[in-house]
């Protein structure tokens, strides 16, 4: 990251960078999700992956413009559990979307720019809607969350 600790957007930039890292993970993870889904559901996974790619690219552009050093994808990722069935795939998608959701809530907490809050609200909402569908596919209950991205308890 750039030496932006002295700037007003240092905390915001750090949160955006963390969101970028979560988006990188989501892009990677959806490859595994799609591979384990049946043909009828692969379109949903592909659309989600495309959405995350778009946000990832937008974040890279934004951080570049601020002189920050956008997070690169990890050299490798491990799946949190074996993804061998469509239900496993949906469960992984839930993990991915919830990770992204938490990152965007943190952006909201740290943002100083109104436009950044607008981006965060939009992406947080989109991720939660996707998560609802995946929770249902994974057999989770409830499928909705009162406070997505916020710590529970």
């Amino acid at each position: 990251m750039a030496d932006d600790e002295t700037t007003g957007t240092a905390a915001e930039d750090a949160a955006l960078d963390a969101a970028l890292a979560a988006e990188h993970a989501a892009v990677w993870g959806y490859g595994a999700v799609g591979a384990a889904l049946g043909p009828e559901d692969r379109g949903t996974a592909a659309a989600a992956e495309a959405a995350h790619r778009e946000v990832r690219d937008r974040l890279i552009t934004l951080l570049d413009a601020r002189g920050a050093d956008p997070a690169a994808p990890e050299a490798g990722y491990e799946l949190p559990f074996p993804v061998l069935s469509p239900v496993d795939a949906a469960a992984l998608a839930v993990v991915l979307e919830e990770g992204v959701t938490a990152a965007w809530v943190r952006v909201l907490d740290r943002a100083v720019e109104r436009t950044t809050r607008g981006l965060a609200v939009a992406e947080l909402g989109a991720a939660e809607v996707r998560a609802v569908g995946w929770r249902e596919a994974a057999g989770r209950t409830p499928v909705t969350s009162a406070l997505p991205g916020l710590p529970t308890g």
Partner: protein
């Protein structure tokens, strides 16, 4: 999956994905302040306090709408009962974040016309979600995070009611 070269694989556990993201959210959840930047973010202006109180009223209206819809169409309870509970949980969190606000005299919500309680309820949910999302833009720190989270949660409700 086998290991990959340096710097090593990242496991996509909830912990991996959420720990970093949630690190700052103890602050978001509680409104506690631990450093000047956080204190600055959580300094609430009069306008922000008024706006937050207005969002409490929006949520009170939504909770009333859930009650009205469930009364009008008891068959909705199976699908929307949990959603109604979550709307109440959201209201509790909003009230906690706006301790100066007092329960408003929320006007009674009209019963859904034409008998389509589900569609009517979805409209109410969408309106509340949009209102909270707009309000989040004018807030900072924990209040922005809370309103954004609630808006997203209600977006999920709207999808569920579709």
């Amino acid at each position: 999956m086998s290991s990959t070269p340096r710097p090593g694989p990242r496991t996509l556990t909830r912990r991996t994905l959420l720990v970093a993201s949630a690190a700052g959210l103890a602050v978001a959840a509680t409104g506690c302040t631990s450093s000047p930047p956080v204190a600055e973010r959580d300094t609430v202006t009069g306008a922000q306090a008024s706006e937050l109180a207005a969002q409490v009223a929006v949520q009170e209206t939504l909770v009333g709408a859930y009650e009205t819809a469930l009364a009008a169409d008891p068959s909705l309870a199976a699908a929307a009962g949990v959603l109604a509970d979550q709307a109440g949980e959201q209201l509790d969190r909003l009230r906690a974040a706006a301790p100066g606000s007092s329960p408003s005299a929320t006007p009674p919500v009209d019963a859904p016309a034409g008998g389509d309680a589900r569609a009517w309820l979805r409209t109410q949910v969408a309106a509340a979600a949009s209102s909270h999302a707009d309000a989040a833009l004018g807030q900072t720190g924990a209040r922005a995070a809370l309103l954004g989270s609630i808006a997203a949660g209600l977006g999920g409700h709207e999808a569920r009611l579709a």
